[in-house]
Subunit: 410 residues, 2 copies
């Protein structure tokens, strides 16, 4: 068994091979990794079958579905690798150039992070997606997946390593942490000097652990208590369609809506439409909403919970200002939306709501790298430092200043 | 006494007044703050005299010099405020706009951080500099200065607050933490949800404390173990001039050089020149260098110490690769330089040395917001996340995505 510390040392060593690699080499590696995934299909499916067998009865049906692989899902992962190959190289972009009066030429150039650690849960496809993005961004990656998916992830990483080998790159560029206990997550969070960027992809518990324990640079992702505010001047049909889509099209994802705020003047017309449309959804209603439609009385935590389920908290407010105030107190800063025809109200909302993505008359479900045109996504940042919202390839790089002189002193 | 927690709550409340303020209002505030500083000169000098009296005998002469204010220094602080007023507004820049095939218009726009906390030491001018930059960047700031400078900082903050009042902005936008014990620094480091960005400006101990304790987003600044590598193909006169400048022009600052690496082939010619030129500097020499010139034998920590003094560690290396390897192990990632006429060696060095600023034939002393043309500086980031190198106004902002639709669902 290779220790997590040794994996990190290997990744640091290997990263220099990648830092010097040109775009063509990286793309050839991604193509070779895609081919290798397909070639290893049988091994991956066998490993996945074992994971599934052990997990059955211990995790929910939803989690089992996420864990399950089949030929078409593996082909999808290989396609994902080829799509990343087709994206522009985020490394080596000259972000600015200045020539100073003293003749110094100062270039600001995008460069790889170095070593990116990713802690994730049981979806095996994250293994290849994350590895592909890190590789294209010029960084080695150290992956720490969930226990349930360990054998699947191991088989996938072995395949990816075979692909790397075919273009002469070291397999240490993509490694999987063997220890799936909390200890290894903590080790990654505190590997100062070895991890240049840590990306936790998971639930609120993981994110909280990172906030509390991480001493390495870390980007918080994914927790989404997203709001739809239905303003007095909303089109009720548009509003109900947006809330329906944001709540029910995929309730388990972070850009799904958890809370609907409704202006008092439109509530009597809007809430019955909502109740009618969202038949399969449990509405948790504040007092005023409960007087208008049937539902469950909202409890004290219902406006601070990421349900990730067919549950929607509903509150009646008196103004756009009250909606903004509520969101300021309860939002996780992911995605929030106003539905209105009133431009002044919309502008106030878009300016004052301090979230990564603020919407006017569109579903929060669009907060996604693909939907934003980034071509890919490593997660949705809910923090303000470095990256906010969907993180694409550019957000996985840093920059340095390269200064050329001819003997200048100060 | 207002608790640190209450100051933070006040700042969060006040920040919305600033988030809505236009460029003109912010600039008028900065001008009013400059006028108020001048108008309060007498109070500030009186407070500073008390600080100086208490500090004398307890801190070094260098620290006393940093602490001391006089009319001209206060005028310099006021000028600094006016210079920030003259800089472009970093808030509201449209960083990108895309119209998606579904008609969604997605704008990425720079926005204020919110509340910026700054922990610094005893230079009173940092109080007004930091406040000015935070204000122009649209954020409230909570300042926590050193104990020795408390009364000076208090008088300065009172003056700045008077300036804010003159343009109708709340004084809670610029506040000073009253508690100067370690407890208040820890409180700022862990004020999750109240502090959007923490900038520690100080020595290695403060930075280490932030890495270990901070749970709020934090930018590490300033620790600089900077290297000059004198390559085989260096011009010896240029090299000695660069090392001299980088070491002796201002040894107490973070962009000063602490280590000189010399190629074996040029060492016999170069080191005697260096010894001759850097008369007042103690050279700490590795074995090979010690055989060529007189000096102190280097101890085991000398290549990992930010001397901030007239001391230079010197080591002979066999190649540019060995220099890069040494820097990879010992640099703090601030600024490192190669002196050479060999373009291939220079390119290898500039690519492989993983520091915020990498120099070819110029002094590391240029790593500075002013020298880089940013017009100002909040500190030098030595981390890779968000900002690297000198942080100007743009680096004090974040961004959000503003998405406009007409009912789009996914």
């Amino acid at each position: 068994m290779t220790s997590t510390h040794d994996l990190l040392l290997g990744a640091r060593q290997a990263r220099t091979a990648l830092a010097g690699a040109d775009t063509k080499t990286k793309n050839r590696a991604l193509e070779a990794m895609a081919d290798a995934l397909l070639a290893h299909t049988e091994d991956i499916l066998a490993a996945n079958a074992q994971d599934m067998e052990d997990a059955r009865g211990h995790i929910s049906q939803v989690m089992l579905d996420r864990l399950a692989l089949n030929e078409s899902r593996i082909a999808g992962m290989a396609d994902g690798l080829r799509q990343v190959a087709a994206l522009p190289d985020p490394v080596g972009r000259v972000l600015s150039t200045v020539e100073r009066p003293n003749g110094l030429v100062i270039r600001k150039v995008s460069v790889p992070m170095g070593v990116i650690a990713i802690i994730y849960e049981s979806r095996p496809n994250v293994t290849s997606d994350a590895a592909a993005l890190a590789l294209k961004a010029g960084s080695a990656c150290v992956l720490r997946g969930g226990k349930e998916a360990y054998r699947s992830a191991r088989a996938i990483v072995d395949a990816l390593g075979a692909g790397l080998g075919q273009v002469g790159l070291p397999p240490q560029l993509i490694t999987l942490v063997e220890d799936t206990s909390r200890q290894s997550a903590h080790e990654l969070m505190t590997a100062v000097g070895l991890v240049d960027l840590l990306i936790p992809r998971g639930g609120a518990g993981l994110i909280r652990a990172c906030v509390e324990q991480a001493t390495v640079p870390c980007i918080q992702t994914g927790t989404g208590i997203c709001h739809i505010y239905v303003d007095r001047d909303a089109d009720p049909d548009m509003a109900v369609s947006i809330v329906d889509n944001a709540k029910t099209s995929r309730p388990s994802v972070c850009n799904a809506a958890e809370v609907c705020l409704v202006h008092r003047d439109i509530a009597p017309a809007f809430l019955p439409l909502l109740r009618e449309r969202l038949k399969g959804v449990e509405l948790r209603l504040d007092g005023e909403a409960a007087a208008l439609v049937p539902g469950t009385p909202a409890g004290v935590r219902d406006f601070d919970t990421e349900f990730l389920d067919y549950i929607l908290a509903v509150r009646v407010v008196g103004s756009v200002e009250e909606a903004i105030e509520h969101i300021g107190c309860h939002s996780t800063g992911h995605s929030d939306c106003i539905v209105t025809w009133d431009r002044a109200a919309a502008e106030k909302f878009l300016t004052q709501v301090d979230s990564a993505a603020v919407y006017w008359n569109a579903s929060t479900r669009f907060t996604d790298g693909g939907e934003f045109g980034l071509g890919c996504e490593m997660g949705i940042s809910t923090q303000k430092l470095h990256a906010r919202g969907p993180m694409g390839l550019e957000e996985l790089t840093t920059y340095k200043y390269i200064i050329q002189g001819n003997g200048q002193i100060r």
